[in-house]
């Protein structure tokens, strides 16, 4: 694994009104690395994830991608977002477009690929997430797990430098969680840079290079999955793990 810093957050702060949701966050995600962010509800982990492509603005600090600070808005920001894939908790597939159109929209409209190229690549990606036979259906005709796999294909179609996963399995029925995690595990093993906010500790253990534990808007602990799960240093992490690993 290389250790080129890809996403760098320095001294990032954010408030929602009086609530200080991100407190002095420093975090570096290296190229090819899989970083899993875990923590209790309201700890700011989703917000942290969403600041990385500026779906959430920040109040102070610097976030940079590949050495460039995030542009505040306009075409520069759009360009940056095209390099950062995002997979949402609620899938957010475009409801009026077919599965294949969902996957080809970005490449055609943002990367200016021809329809034929975009569709060929789109079908390849849909096959890769094992959903090629559903390419001409609409999102509402698919199960949650299938929709989320399409969403992953849609993100991959942009050839992103990093993909952000914001609780990708939290809205899924239990029997569909595994099919999505399998796709994500494959991606991780292929060297995709990933930031994953999740409650799936099994995935964190199996696929993560690093676990980041957040509580009350702060990064409390960062460690390898093995170290973190077997030997958490902070009291907050010990407390959190004792609550989720007992059942």
């Amino acid at each position: 694994m290389t250790s080129t810093p890809l996403v760098v957050l320095e001294n990032v702060n954010k408030h929602f009104g009086d609530l200080h949701v991100l407190r002095d966050i420093d975090l570096t995600v290296n190229s090819g690395e899989v970083v899993v962010v875990i923590g209790p509800s309201g700890s700011g982990k989703s917000t942290l994830c969403r600041t990385m492509n500026r779906l959430e603005t920040i109040d102070s600090g610097v976030i940079s991608l590949d050495g460039q600070p995030l542009p505040a808005e306009g075409r520069g920001l759009a360009k940056l977002r095209s390099d950062v894939g995002m997979v949402f908790q609620s899938f957010n597939l475009f409801a009026h477009k077919t599965v294949l159109q969902n996957v080809t929209l970005g490449p055609m409209k943002v990367l200016r690929q021809s329809k034929a190229d975009a569709e060929a690549r789109g079908m390849e990606l849909l096959d890769r997430v094992r959903i090629g036979n559903q390419a001409h259906k609409y999102p509402a005709q698919l199960s949650g797990g299938q929709q989320q796999r399409v969403a992953i294909a849609r993100a991959l179609a942009m050839n992103p430098k990093v993909i952000l996963f914001d609780e990708p399995t939290s809205a899924l029925d239990p029997e569909m969680v595994q099919e999505v995690l399998d796709v994500m595990t494959d991606l991780a093993s292929e060297g995709m840079t990933m930031v994953v906010v999740t409650h799936e500790m099994g995935f964190a253990r199996r696929a993560a290079n690093r676990v980041v534990f957040m509580a009350d808007g702060q990064i409390v602990e960062e460690n390898t999955p093995d170290e973190f799960f077997t030997n958490p240093r902070s009291e907050r992490a010990q407390d959190f793990l004792s609550k989720i690993l007992t059942h």
Binding site: A78, V84, H96
Partner: protein
């Protein structure tokens, strides 16, 4: 994750704390103010007043003329008045349609790198239009019926209800059957419209 709920329409089209909306199509506070004033002003005025303003105010009093013959002049003023009035209801329908689109659709489009204008053109407007086909049909039916106001409001346009009144004045037509006849005439125009828009609304509906 716990985020405070934002009113969706604010987040869809308006981005607070992003001061420079220089790039084409980004929301501009001044334009929002102007359009709100227009829609709220005209939508809450009686159509008769709007048409009177066009006919007596702009046409007669200020002498603004749109055509050489009086008949065409008042006709075009009626078209303008009805358009100005109906536009408010069309815009309110569209706004309601935009508000039905989940914020996630817009965020997904943003995260792909679509610009604001592309986002509107490819994601927001197509979905919004599909949701408001039914309501837009109602607006069109209302417009058809509203044309009957164009004669009474000082414009004296030769529309259906004025023709009917002329027939009564000349004593050439029995009152009740004539009323029924004109009513059926309107039904012939508006009923198919209603069915067509109902059919179209189902056909293009976005399933979530």
């Amino acid at each position: 994750m716990d985020r405070p709920a934002h009113p969706v329409q604010r987040r869809l089209l308006v981005r607070p704390r992003c001061p420079a909306h220089r790039h084409a199509g980004l929301p501009v506070p001044l334009l929002r103010g102007l359009s709100t004033a227009y829609v709220e002003g005209i939508r809450n005025s009686p159509l008769t007043l709007v048409l009177l303003f066009c006919g007596l105010g702009l046409n007669s009093a200020l002498g603004l003329s749109l055509a050489d013959s009086v008949a065409w002049d008042v006709f075009w003023w009626a078209v303008i008045g009805l358009s100005a009035y109906t536009a408010c209801f069309v815009s309110e329908s569209l706004r309601a349609g935009i508000n039905t689109i989940p914020l996630g659709q817009v965020e997904a489009a943003r995260s792909l790198g679509l610009t604001f204008t592309q986002n509107l053109r490819l994601i927001v407007i197509p979905q919004a239009l599909r949701t408001v086909v039914g309501p837009l049909g109602s607006v069109l039916i209302a417009l058809t019926k509203n044309t009957t106001v164009a004669s009474v409001a000082g414009l004296g346009v030769q529309e259906a209800s004025r023709e009917m009144k002329l027939m009564f004045d000349q004593g050439v037509a029995p009152v009740l059957p004539t009323f029924v006849g004109f009513a059926i005439g309107f039904l012939i125009l508006t009923l198919p419209m209603g069915y067509f828009f109902g059919w179209l609304a189902k056909r293009v509906a976005v399933v979530r």
